[in-house]
C-alpha cells in the first residue's frame, strides 16, 4: 500500500518534469492571477461567514448572513426577481444578436466591415454613454421619446420613464441590449475570420444548399469554442448588471424597481460597509451564474447536430 503510493508520487513527479515547459509558460500569469484574483475571491468567500464592518476585525457568525439574506431581506428578493427578469430577456437576445450581426458584418467587403464593426462596437468603446439615454428618456417634454409621442398625439403629458416603476425595468432592458454588442460580438467576428474557408467549400460540394444549412452544419460547429466564450461572457454580464441601473434609474431606484443583485451588493459593500453581508450577496450571485453557465453549456453541446 505504501509502496503503491510511492510509485504514484514518482509517476506524478515524472509527469510534471516532462511537462515542465508548460508550467514555465504559465508561471507569470498564474502567479499574478492567484495573488490578485484567486486570493481576494477566497478572502471574500471567507468574509461572507463573518460580521465585518472594516473597523473591527471580522467576527465569525456562521450562516447568519445567508439566512438573513433569504428570510429577512425583502429588498433582496426584489433584486433577485429583477435580475432574473433582466437576464432571461437580455441574455439570450443579445447573444443571438451578437452572433447574427457578426455573421452579417463578416461578409461585407473588408473596409466596410472594419467600419461597421467599429460602429456596432461604439457603445462599448466610448465608455460612459448613458447620458444619451438620459436625453432620450428624459421625463420632461424635451425628452426625445416624450416629444415624439406627444407630437404624434399618443400621449398628452410627458411620461416619467425613469421615475415610474412600471417603465424603469423595460427601459433598462432596452439600454442594456443596446450596450451588449461588446466582448462576445468581437470574439464572434474574430472567430468567423479564423474559420476555415476550405470547410465551406467542401460543404458546398457535399450538397449544402442554402446559407442556413451552411450556418448550422459548418459555421456553428466550428465556432464552438467562441460560442462557449460568448455564452459565459453574456451570462456574466447580464446577471451582473448594475451600472446602467445606477446611471439611469438612480440609486436606489424608485421603489427599488431597477434594483439588481449587484446594486444590492453595492448598497451594503460601499455605503453601509457591511462587508460580510455584501460578500454573502456576491457568493449567491456567483452560485447563480455558475448554475446558469452549466445549463447553457449543456445546451451548446447540441449545436450542429
Amino acid at each position: 500500500m505504501k509502496l503503491e503510493k510511492h510509485f504514484q508520487w514518482v509517476a506524478l513527479r515524472r509527469e510534471i518534469y516532462r511537462n515542465r515547459h508548460y508550467y514555465i509558460l504559465m508561471a507569470p500569469y498564474m502567479i499574478i492571477f492567484f495573488i490578485f484574483t484567486v486570493l481576494p475571491v477566497l478572502a471574500s468567500l471567507g468574509i461572507s461567514f463573518t460580521y465585518f464592518n472594516m473597523l473591527e476585525p471580522p467576527r465569525f457568525i456562521g450562516w447568519q448572513n445567508y439566512s438573513r439574506l433569504f428570510l429577512n431581506d425583502d429588498v433582496f428578493l426584489i433584486a433577485l426577481r429583477n435580475t432574473f427578469y433582466f437576464a432571461i430577456i437580455t441574455g439570450p437576445v443579445s447573444y443571438i444578436a451578437c452572433f447574427l450581426f457578426a455573421w452579417i458584418i463578416n461578409e461585407l467587403p473588408p473596409k466596410i466591415r472594419a467600419f461597421m464593426t467599429l460602429v456596432f462596437y461604439a457603445p462599448s468603446i466610448s465608455g460612459n454613454v448613458y447620458y444619451i439615454w438620459q436625453i432620450i428618456f428624459s421625463g420632461d417634454k424635451y425628452g426625445y421619446i416624450n416629444g415624439f409621442l406627444m407630437r404624434l398625439g399618443l400621449t398628452l403629458e410627458p411620461i416619467q420613464w425613469l421615475k415610474d416603476e412600471r417603465y424603469i425595468l423595460s427601459v433598462l432592458i432596452i439600454v442594456q441590449l443596446w450596450m451588449s454588442l461588446g466582448t462576445s460580438f468581437l470574439a464572434f467576428i474574430a472567430g468567423l475570420q479564423t474559420l476555415d474557408r476550405s470547410l465551406i467549400e467542401a460543404g458546398a460540394v457535399d450538397g449544402i444548399k442554402n446559407r442556413w444549412q451552411e450556418l448550422w452544419y459548418i459555421v456553428l460547429p466550428s465556432m464552438r469554442p467562441q460560442l462557449l466564450f460568448g455564452a459565459v461572457m453574456q451570462i456574466t454580464s447580464s446577471l451582473a448588471v448594475a451600472d446602467i441601473s445606477v446611471a439611469l434609474a438612480g440609486f436606489p431606484s424608485v421603489n427599488y424597481a431597477g434594483h439588481t443583485i449587484v446594486t444590492h451588493l453595492m448598497d451594503y459593500g460601499s455605503i453601509r460597509f457591511e462587508m460580510g453581508y455584501a460578500s454573502a450577496i456576491a457568493t449567491v450571485l456567483f452560485i447563480i451564474m455558475l448554475g446558469t453557465n452549466l445549463l447553457t453549456q449543456k445546451l451548446l453541446r447540441k449545436i450542429g447536430g
Binding site: 509527469e15 511537462n19 515547459h21 508548460y22 509558460l25 504559465m26 507569470p28 500569469y29 498564474m30 499574478i32 492571477f33 490578485f36 484574483t37 484567486v38 486570493l39 481576494p40 478572502a43 450581426f101 452579417i104 458584418i105 473588408p110 466591415r113 472594419a114 461597421m116 464593426t117 467599429l118 460602429v119 456596432f120 462596437y121 461604439a122 468603446i125 466610448s126 465608455g127 454613454v129 444619451i132 454588442l181 466582448t183 470574439a187 467576428i189 474574430a190 472567430g191 475570420q193 479564423t194 476555415d196 474557408r197 476550405s198 465551406i200 467549400e201 458546398a204 449544402i208 446559407r211 469554442p225 467562441q226 459565459v232 451588493l265 462587508m275 460578500s279 456576491a282 455558475l290 453557465n293
Partner: protein
Amino acid sequence: MAIKRMSAFRHQKQLNRSFAVTFMLFVLLALFGAFMALPLIYTINNAFKPLDELFLFPPRFFVRNPTFDNFYDLVYLIGNSWVPFSRYLSNTIFITLLGTAGHVIFASAAAYPLAKYKFPGSKTLSTIVVLSLMFSGHVTAIPNYMIMSRLGWIDTHASIIIPAWAFPLGLFLMRQFMEQLPSSLLEAAKMDGASEYRIFWQIVMPNVKPAWLTLIILRLPSLWGSDGGSFIYSENLKTLNYALGQITQGGIARAGVGAAIGLVLMIVPITMFIISQSNVIQTMATSGIKD
C-alpha cells in the same frame, strides 16, 4: 495585396443570396448602425461645442458653431493650474502600453498549454480561471487593497499595471481560440526540433492573430480609461481619466475642457481598433493552416 483581398471576398460569395435579401440586410445594418453610433457622434460633436451650446436646454445633438477653444483650454488651462496635461497623458500611455502588452503575452503563454495539452493540474487551472470570471469585483476590492498595501504597491503604477496582466478574460479568450489550432501543425514543429517556447512564439501566436488583436481591443480601452481608483494618490502619477473627474468637478467653466478630454479618451481606443481591424483582414487572406 489588393488582389488577394478581392479573391478572399469572392470566396465567401459561393452561395449567393438574392438581391432583395442583400438589400434588406444593408438597410437593416444601416438603421441599427446609425443607432449604435450615437455616442460616437455625440462625443465628437460635444468636444467642439462652445460653452453656450454645451449648456443649451434642451440639449442639442449636433454642434452649430464648432470651435477649438476646448482643446486650447485643455492644454493651456490645466498646465497653469495643476500638473501639466502632458504628465497625465504620459502616465496613461505608460500604463496602457505596458498593461496591454503584458496581458496579451502572459495570457497567451498561459493559454497555449491549457488549450492543447493535458498535464497534472491543467484542468483545475482552466476551471479556476473560468470560475473567477463569475465573481463580482465589488467585494474583492477590499482584499485587493490589503494585498497591494502588503506588497507596498500603493501609490505606484505597478498597482494598476501588474494585476492587468493576469485579467482572467484574456486567458479564457485565448484558450478558446487556441483549441481550434490543428494538433498536427504543432506536432510537425516538434518533430522538426522546435522548443515549446519557439512553437508558442512562432507558430501559435501568428495563427491566432485575430484573437490577440481582439484581446488588445478589449483590454486597451479599460486601461486607457482607468482612473487609478483607490490606489494612486500622488498628483503627478494620476491618469487622464482621473484628471477628467477633477476638471469636471471644477464647475461650469470647465465643462468645455471636460468635453474635450472625453474625445481624447475615446480617440485612442478607436484608432487602435481601426488598426487592429485592418490587421485581422490581412491574416484572413493568408491563413490556410486548418485541418
